[in-house]
Subunit: 978 residues, 2 copies
Amino acid sequence: MAAFGVLAMVLSVCFVVEGKYIVYNTSAGVVPGKINVHLVPHTHDDVGWLKTVDQYYVGSNNSIQGACVQNVLDSLIPALLADKNRKFIYVEQAFFQRWWRQQSDEMKETVKMLVSSGQLEFINGGMCMHDEAAAHYIDMIDQTTLGHWYIKRDFNVTPRIGWQIDPFGHSAVQAYLLGAEVGFDALYFARIDYQDRAKRSAEKKLEVIWQGSKSHGSSSQIFTGAFYAGNYEPPTDFYYEVNDDSPIVQDDIELFDYNVQERVDAFVAAAYFQANVTGTNHIMWTMGTDFKYQYAHTWFRNMDKLIHYVNQDGRVSALYSSPSIYTDVKHALDESWPPKLDDYFPYADRIDGYWTGYFTSRPTSKGFIRELSGYYLAARQLEFFRGRNKSGPTTDSLADALAIVQHHDAVSGTAKQHVADDYAKRLSIGYEECPLLNISYCPATEVDLSVGKKIVVLVYNPLGWKRTSVVRIPVINKNLSVSDSTGKLILSQLLPIVNASLSMRKFYASAYTGESPSSVAKYWLAFTAVVPPLGFSTYVISSGQSSVSTKFVPNSFDTGGIEVGQGNLKLIYSGNDGKLMKYINGRNSVNVSLEQSYSYYVGSTDELQASGAYIFRPNGTHTIQSEEKIPLTVFRGPLYDEVHQRFSSWVYQTTRVYKEKEHAEVEFTVGPISIDDGNGKEIVTKLKTMIGNNKTFYTDSNGRDFLERIRDYRADWDLQVNQPIAGNYYPINLGIYIKDESTEMSVLVDRSVGGSSIIDGEVEIMLHRRLLHDDGRGVDEALNETVCALDTCTGLTVQGKYYLRLDQLGEGSKWRRSFGQEIYSPFLLAFSEQDDKWTNFPTPTFSAMDPSYSLPDNVAIITLQELQDSAVLLRLAHLYEVGEDKDLSSLATVELKRVFPHRKINKIKEMSLSANQERAEMERKRLSWKVEGSDTGHRSDSRGALVDPVKLVVELAPMEVRTFILDLDSDIVQYSTR
Amino acid sequence: MAAFGVLAMVLSVCFVVEGKYIVYNTSAGVVPGKINVHLVPHTHDDVGWLKTVDQYYVGSNNSIQGACVQNVLDSLIPALLADKNRKFIYVEQAFFQRWWRQQSDEMKETVKMLVSSGQLEFINGGMCMHDEAAAHYIDMIDQTTLGHWYIKRDFNVTPRIGWQIDPFGHSAVQAYLLGAEVGFDALYFARIDYQDRAKRSAEKKLEVIWQGSKSHGSSSQIFTGAFYAGNYEPPTDFYYEVNDDSPIVQDDIELFDYNVQERVDAFVAAAYFQANVTGTNHIMWTMGTDFKYQYAHTWFRNMDKLIHYVNQDGRVSALYSSPSIYTDVKHALDESWPPKLDDYFPYADRIDGYWTGYFTSRPTSKGFIRELSGYYLAARQLEFFRGRNKSGPTTDSLADALAIVQHHDAVSGTAKQHVADDYAKRLSIGYEECPLLNISYCPATEVDLSVGKKIVVLVYNPLGWKRTSVVRIPVINKNLSVSDSTGKLILSQLLPIVNASLSMRKFYASAYTGESPSSVAKYWLAFTAVVPPLGFSTYVISSGQSSVSTKFVPNSFDTGGIEVGQGNLKLIYSGNDGKLMKYINGRNSVNVSLEQSYSYYVGSTDELQASGAYIFRPNGTHTIQSEEKIPLTVFRGPLYDEVHQRFSSWVYQTTRVYKEKEHAEVEFTVGPISIDDGNGKEIVTKLKTMIGNNKTFYTDSNGRDFLERIRDYRADWDLQVNQPIAGNYYPINLGIYIKDESTEMSVLVDRSVGGSSIIDGEVEIMLHRRLLHDDGRGVDEALNETVCALDTCTGLTVQGKYYLRLDQLGEGSKWRRSFGQEIYSPFLLAFSEQDDKWTNFPTPTFSAMDPSYSLPDNVAIITLQELQDSAVLLRLAHLYEVGEDKDLSSLATVELKRVFPHRKINKIKEMSLSANQERAEMERKRLSWKVEGSDTGHRSDSRGALVDPVKLVVELAPMEVRTFILDLDSDIVQYSTR
């Protein structure tokens, strides 16, 4: 035996342990008294960015970015089914709906079960996670509503949480309108200014009660959490995507590199770190990031183990959670939270890293989106009047395209060029008629009328007020007359199309349609259309001699100055150098010096921080003026005067002063921005007055509330100024104004731009950007938009308008609000060509409303949409803030019976803003929070009263938006036989 | 209405189509008359390469390589369940077993169902896809057997297909022994010489009938397919891993970029291309590659669509298939296939790209593996004698480690350094006693015996013959005596350990154990052990004066020469320069000039192709000899003479001539290879004779058959010689020999090396490699092995042996085969320390066999292993090829009753080589193939007869390996009480 004892030594080889199937305990809930780590599994799926939305969905074009949302959703369902404690949130309905469409009925039932059990929760729930700087509030509402409807339709649930984790700064409108008003109990995001975040971290004030509306008061409050790390990712080394290189949890003792204690220690350390900057002992870990969970199992496998072993360890508690659960737990603690007013703009992620360039990036895209936004509002009205198509074309495709382009890399201008092209393609599919009208190309009107044709022009007014405005149409004939639907000739005016416009028109038509226009419009035909509210008028253009040719006035450079304008407003240009000198309104005695100029900032090429699609980092500013004198041409006519100026070879400007209006309309043509000197440039126009605005200016929030901005100042912290220009830029969607004790100057815009008041008395807005370097925020392309056609590629030219008006102090808001609404909802034109003998107007003019009724000046219909059969969605918006105007910041009323005189309103339900639940239910459910320094969490508010279902009169308090679903008799015959 | 007609134009927006859930038709089978594309979903999972086997399994260390086998298997099961037409093959049991251990019973049942239905098929089925150049056939059998057993145990199936898709060249032993003899119906791989592949492609001869054994004749034939593209990947643009950038099949018409026709066209084009180089109209697409299917769904989703749409298209047929199905279809066509003999070595993937460096790469690893291979064989014998532990240590861990290191990036030396370290760690866990004996460090014997201790040395002989060999043990005392188990003093000899060895011992002991040896051995104590077959003898070492000190003979550089050796063999060294001059065997009149030298090749650093872990690309050759004269020291003693030579500061050599042996034993110490000149170097030793071998030499296949090699020639094609050295290198595991009409020279090795005969009369073998560049084949590290200890890092030193003998023509094989077996299975030593008074030998000597019995000289027991209770695995191998030796290439017999005299053999079952099925069943099932130019597919063979269960005598024909499972009475008392 001893010999075998020796042999036993020889045989001292290793042993094999039987393997074991481990069942992880993932059932942990909140543990009072401990730090509770809420693991929130999520994916952030950009609705287009480096790849198009469809490429992201199907997972093509992976050489640009490995991302496939289909994988995420395909793999998620079995992962959730594998353990009922696992949870997931899904956000972007644009993707979810693509996936849902492709699923079997069986799968749909499974997903419904997961949603119903709360394992899968939809949050935010719009079609995309919209941008908060460059998006218009009506678009934000529409895209959120669309997503919320899908969720309601398919799952009968309403999202509870705002989840704007990626957008680059956060707007007041997001907080109160797209937050509180859609019934959200909380709003979470990642990106706030780095200085702000540092202070809030130190003070444990990352989580606040945000009151985004002055007008709505405490009823607009929403619990808001900014993530401690400035991103929406897991702590370092807790990433578990396929091929991620975080250490996985290796808990098989039979394999090498067992590391459970090490991972638990790392987990606890990360939890302590975060708890140290977070109020209460509940912290949220955002377990995911862009396009993660392509194989969801890999995340859940590791999170299962972490929850199991961390809870075994016991130092902290770990649980599967969701933002809803996290919010409820925070709420149940009954703590008071710090208050927050205003917004979170502008956003800098680090020194010199101001994300204020994207306010203007891709200005033509921004313009196209805004144009179609107004178009979509009108198109839905028309669709409602006509009755929605049961089969065939509807506005749904345009709805979908517009929803997608609200994404925070779409309207923001921060997607790659091919993705921007994809967005444009989606939009143009929904916009068929005269798509190139904006560059003077409109085949339907460019008919040779000398051979006995007539053009019937239908002019639709989507506003609730009667409206009189000049309409301009490109034509090829000189001798034309315009008559109204009664056959009466009306005043019209013919203006030449300047050569620069004609060549641009030729180039862009070729670039976008692949063919040159067959006929060449040479003139603008202008006439004044008068259109009833929610209605149309028709006009006929035929050959004749009635149009008044505009009179060309040669330059007269003398010291006397050149006066332009034949109504109340006069603009005085220097006879010396052609520059604007004065703005005079004869009616209200405004008479001020006013200079206007163009400048450019040179985009920084600093390798640590260049100016790019996101970032504005100027490196010097230069005035644009090719010569001493600005060539100036003035055209005068009975409807309006027009001033043509050439600031440089790539900056043209046309200023129109309408006889019947008191503002100036400035149409700029900027581009191709010269890069011959090797410099990227960011073009601004500056308006200089003597107004003593004392560093203060006002910009709107998504086209709605105006917020006070103070140069080099933030209300929430002591600003360290490192970018005195970029750091004072704010997004503008409606307008910007400055004021002093006597005067205010307002500038309204036709699209999203960035702007500021860098020097007292001045306002500047950025119109175009062309940059040669990437700014290092991921898009990995220089924002150097080019257009190729006719064997040439050249920088993109942008053509747009802004509107300028000076008022006596306190008088500006009426114009800003009412005319602002007209900018958003211009006349909608339709054309038909008829032969000479045609005279029949079955419906020459039309108004949906009672002919004697008009909406009050402070109310707009921002949605009128047939849902199905008799159900109609109606949104009414009060256009004024509390205290904004002495007359119009008051309770307004809308008589629905007179809005819909021909249809019986059987039923009216007031809904949440996204119309996915009744308002009463929303208000009942919504959490109230205690605010530090405030007596109670009780909500105070000024709101319109509940609507009496018999009287059907809607009251609207300042800034109130009310959403209704009406049940109407579907009697559309009323309209068509009238 | 007309107005609404106009409005309808306005509303010409896009339409929305309802989505549909698509069910793909994947049920297609073979379609006669069409090109049939067999889609074979697979993953190739290296059992260690850039990451360790466990890192690959759990998916850690992903920064090196994104790879997680757990994901593959986790995701595979639901993907197969989702569609019963989907198929998958899995290969590497090392990974599968790791996964299987962790699964729930429920999952195991599911997987069993999938295996049973054929959806999941195990092919190849060893623990790894072993290397075919550097692996020993016994290791190949063991690792394959282990995998096959797991598959048999868990699923009751036997793999049918050899799948050596990645190894870098293919051996004859693979084809016949690990192919035909394990019952495989086909063998597939990717890597054959690029010139060979070009010719075979042109002639549609990529698929052949390979007859790998001369001795076994046509019974060793196997259908063998080399993949047309030289890799095991899908055609270009048909990769579907998560984030792969091949175009996915986008078949949703409601999304942009619909591409079904484009993908179908690409599929058809790729199929035509492959069909053009393939015999018959069946082609196989290997749908996968390294570590793919981490989310299996992504592959199957796209393959489902391809099968669906390609079959709709109809030009070619596409189907889910497997190598088994493909093989059966090919077989059913009843075609004749071209024959192939010999092997597929060496492998070049392109000009100058000869994968012949890895034959030697990491020589210490190769040595360690070979050492443990022999150890494992012996350990299992001992385990069998003792009775397998029911709990506690068994040989299983060593079995597992040895299986893993047979992987084609393990024993090949082509893994990253940290992975090589992991392999060594796994091996050393199974090798506990005296692990550093090979570098003269063995604490158990290094006891100070002057204080009254004794060392009992147990010497075990794993061979079936009685054996007499000199044993050497490091000791610290000078005055020692050795006695046998009867107490009789026996002759012993003491040799000094040279200083170079001592310092190396100190350095390596520190590097590997972290501590310096506490005592310092100064001497080798040598004595002759005589051990019965399958048995042991014991010897006792105590203090005393009996050892004969070896006599140091000073150099005498004179013209007369220095004669070494006191038996039949004499080596004559030049008295002038110390070089070997002559080899004289007094018994058989061999008397030949013989020179021996060391040289190095400079590793090419050509950026297109450097020499590296895989590739041997020399750039010039240099003889190593630091001075004119080689310092030479001779030690003479009664057991053997020893010659010490110093060829340079980093090449030492000890040559031993044993009195009772007729070969020279050369122990080389090479390293740290100097890189002071900036060059990587590959060290060879050359043996130069006057033998006129006419370009011809012989190297073994995995330690078994010798294959004829002809310099600058390939039997299968006209070789274009671009690397006249590297292109003539072949793997050597047993030995290499050359011969002419009168003489043969054989060199046997102790591990895998590369070697050749580059000049007639010469043999060279490569001993060590140190290179400073990566060779671009993926490992991405230079093969620059270093060892760090005692605050120094230095190049690795290798110590090893080769054995040299010259014979009259026809006499060499006896030595090569019998002594070769002794090299593989050296005496196994075990030690115990006893006090001075100990005298008790309860089992002083032992043989498992009948004392009067011995195995015939041409048979070895290559496996004797207790499986469970009474079941024992026995493998007997005939060691000679047909015609190799005039006496021993004959039918041999083994009397099992005398091998197991103490145990009753109740039952004997002859098994397939991997013992996973009965041999008769295997032979019945195995497919026969028709060979071009051959009359029939009928198998001719010379084999031993079926074993009579009463007589229990096993016949073995030349090269035959027979595998049995014996049922033995479990009477182990027989051994221990004897």
